[in-house]
């Protein structure tokens, strides 16, 4: 079974309060030198059979319709090699 990974990130211009909270917590724990944090979502889709171009197009459709909200988020789709 092949795995397709969809990463969803807030668009750069959209404020990310959660990422900001993480960024503020890091130096308190002694992890210095991290200028900014953006938090996103990772979806792992286990695909039956081969990952064809057609199947990938289908997954891009799903990413655009359900997994992400294109108004505020961008996504990338990639095949994870076993």
């Amino acid at each position: 079974m092949a795995r397709v990974v969809v990463d969803v990130m807030l668009k750069p211009e959209i404020l990310d309060p959660q990422g900001k909270a993480v960024a503020q917590a890091l130096p308190r724990l002694g992890y210095d030198g991290i200028a900014a944090v953006r938090q996103g979502k990772r979806f792992e889709l286990d695909v039956e059979g081969e990952v064809t171009e057609e199947r990938l197009a289908q997954i891009r459709g799903a990413a655009e319709t359900l997994l992400s909200n294109p108004v505020i988020e961008d996504f990338t789709v990639r095949v994870e090699e076993a």
Binding site: L10, E13, I14, L15, P17, Q18, K20, A21, L66, L67, N69, V71, I72
Partner: protein, 223 residues
Amino acid sequence: MRVGVVTFPGSLDDADARRAVRLAGAEPVALWHADADLHGVDAVVLPGGFSYGDYLRCGAIARFAPVMEPLVAAAHGGLPVLGICNGFQVLCESHLLPGALIRNDHRKFNCVDQELVVESTATVWTSGYAAGQRIVVPLKNGEGGYVADEKTLDGLEAEGRVVVRYAGGNPNGSYHDIAGISNERGNVVGLMPHPEHAVEDLTGPSTDGLTFFTSVLKAVVTA
């Protein structure tokens, strides 16, 4: 007049919405997320709460509930639809309204009696207010920050589609202090504050919210 109130798994304020409908003088009709039709109602309220546990994104799963299919079609045809809080998020996810709601900029859950300015009385849900009228209704959410791109915001402002705006300080980082907006036609309105919680002196900070429900009653009866 019959006003449907949709209950999704995780809806919280459906009972209060039905109560507000009744106090306004209309007949509330409970609609279920799995319903395939709207039971012939004259208007629909999408209530507040945490539909599907706010999984994925607020409103993202509810958007694909069976009842949404006839609802979206009817809304495009002019059916009055009011989305409150989570209902507003569902309307944005459904693309019936532009933009999106993100986590409050201060990252805290907000629960306050919020002052609002009614900016537009050109919608079926706000026709009973005076333009510029100040009202106080409860606001309670964790993800109430309204965002949209500049072009969308300029369009909303130019077309008078900002329906209610926060007054006395921005409680969540919403762009342009936007608390609620409408579609072009003015039949679909979404807002984060809860007019259905401000319909009786006993339980609300005011009765200012009742006018949302009496407005639509008048609009449908005279239509």
